[in-house]
Subunit: 359 residues, 2 copies
């Protein structure tokens, strides 16, 4: 394997000294980039782009050619697993993802198979292998999956939801059935992430996009417990290095202490919580990833730099912080504002690492 | 004035002893009730219903005739103030509120007048007076307003928003202008709530529906500070009793300590936070209102009762809790499930008040 030339991201996730704070962006390969839109056009459809390893590799690398990012993230969708289970994923313009077949009954759940990642999800593994090759060790590659709870919301509701009425009714009235579905999804996610790691992913992230719609009790039982089980099942090594795991529950700022016991190396946090407060709550148990408001990239360059400075000061000295947005970048952002943000993180963070012997 | 026959709600907001925990629901006069849908049909449009005091009074009282609710809430919309400022509010099916005129420039803001509640918002005050008369002292009447920040989001974005791109750009790049708009709205909200109190509102609630999309810093500066200013400006007495103020920031569970210093008597909380934890964080500074997941009303009666029991146990002994949902009731709920919920609160809460000398 090619030697990794920039390992800041992996080091920060493991709270090892770094020279500057590493930075990347959720959805960094995305619609705000004209080159992404051109490739997406050639692919014909969003799923056409996801399932074509060459094109997925191309869009994964695009933001790295523009910006001094410290990590690449596999271009894919969080719903590849239910699609591989045969539910028929498609995307409708303006309405988001939707499934041809719903999962609502015991029979529906029992009929679901746990996909073999190298067969039904081969296109993802091929993309991981190709991206690793094309990266030539520039930065580490992040693999990812949706969390069992988040996947279940789409499978039961049939697509995006506002109130999660159907899945909550199932969870409240038939928790046994809900657990059967989540258990199967946890097995599938563990297999899927392990296969990504074998294919070359150097860190993995669990996206729990909808954990934040639950009560504290239900979050623990129906989302966090399954993520904890997945993390315990992961092979945590690649090329002789530890593969860090990042857990991100959007809207989960109230549960950082519980998440810190999940086995994850780092927690993603959204922008509604101060990084200083988050750090004092999790102590040295986990690193933190976040948390600039994605809308800050609509602001003028001076204001963006000011916000980067505020967030860096909020985290304070030492390693254990990966700079990111608190959510995916919005499609309408000017790519030049992204440059301001990325460069500001590197430029303004050096003083926070100088005293700690960062390399 | 008629003597108030059931004052549990007011007593609990002031943390005075009660016999059982009082209960009401956000959007209790709403689409889940067939009698509401019938009146709404007669009104012709949603704004037609809001602006007709007789019909607004009718729908306000409907849920009280069905359920043993401990409070009535004025039927109105949070956007009456910007409408009275001349922005032309209308509702489109499935898309929510939208304004004919947007507020984006200094000139737009300077052109806004602070409405005289007894003139431009006379229909609201007439509704308050009529409802008070028709209530005959059965339960207290809650008045309300949107928060300045929440009103501003609709005025600047032109309607509902997903990312709040336009208002955040204004806030980030031109905070002076943003403060000018919010200051004017704070004056208008204070006048509006004082007029509601004079007309008969016995408690008032500030709905900060969109405060939760801000960072901690921005929430304090652009939302909470203005609500604090409004609360300080309110005449807090009606019929010789104190008029309690409830502050509700959806998604604001991280900021309870800050909210508790706003001057509000009670904080509304959504379902993502445990009531026990919330109570220990705010101590005896404020009462708490909430926080059952509205989707729990999709569950079977036994499950609803179990959840009510869990939430009551979470708050524990003593007064200072008003039971409510963590957000407005969903339109598709079966009205019979609502009865289960309301009755369970009264039935299961008595033991938590017995030892405290509750009357």
């Amino acid at each position: 394997m090619t030697e990794l030339k920039n390992d800041r991201f992996l080091r920060a996730l493991l709270r090892q000294p770094v020279d500057v704070t590493p930075v990347w962006m959720m959805r960094q390969a995305g619609r705000y980039l004209p080159e992404y839109r051109a490739t997406r056009e050639r692919a014909g459809s969003f799923m056409g782009l996801c399932t074509n390893p060459e094109l997925a590799c191309e869009v994964t690398l695009q933001p790295l050619d523009r910006y001094a990012l410290d990590a690449a993230i596999l271009f894919s969708d969080i719903l590849t697993i239910p699609d591989a289970m045969g539910l028929g994923l498609h995307f409708t313009t303006g309405e988001g993802p939707s499934f041809a077949r719903l999962v609502r009954s015991a029979a529906d759940i029992d009929a679901l198979g746990v996909p073999d990642p190298e067969r039904e999800l081969r296109y993802v593994m091929d993309a991981v292998r190709l991206i690793r090759r094309e990266l030539h060790g520039r930065v580490p590659l992040i693999g990812f999956s949706g969390s069992p709870w988040t996947l279940a919301t789409y499978m039961v509701e049939g697509g995006s939801s506002k109130n999660f009425a159907v899945i909550k009714e199932l969870m409240f009235d038939n928790p046994v059935l809900m657990h059967r579905l989540l258990g199967k999804l946890a097995d599938a996610v563990a297999d899927y992430l392990n296969a990504q790691i074998r294919a070359g992913a150097q860190a993995v992230m669990l996206f729990d996009t909808w954990g934040g719609v639950l009560t504290t009790r239900d979050y623990q039982e129906f989302s966090l417990d399954y993520m904890t089980r997945i993390i315990a099942a992961l092979a945590r090594e690649n090329d002789g290095r530890r593969v860090p795991v990042i857990l991100f529950t959007k809207g989960g700022a109230g549960w950082l202490e519980a998440m810190a016991t999940s086995g994850a190396d780092a927690l993603g946090i959204d922008w509604t919580i101060d990084l200083a407060q988050a750090r004092s709550r999790v102590g040295d148990r986990v690193a933190l990833q976040g948390n600039m408001d994605p809308s800050m990239l609509y602001a003028m360059p001076a204001r963006i730099r000011e916000e980067v400075a505020t967030i860096l000061a909020s985290y304070g000295k030492g390693s254990g912080h990966v700079f990111n947005l608190g959510h995916g970048i919005h499609p309408g952002i000017d790519p030049e504002r992204v440059r301001v943000y990325i460069d500001a993180v590197h430029e303004l963070s050096a003083p926070y690492h100088a005293a700690t012997g960062g390399r």
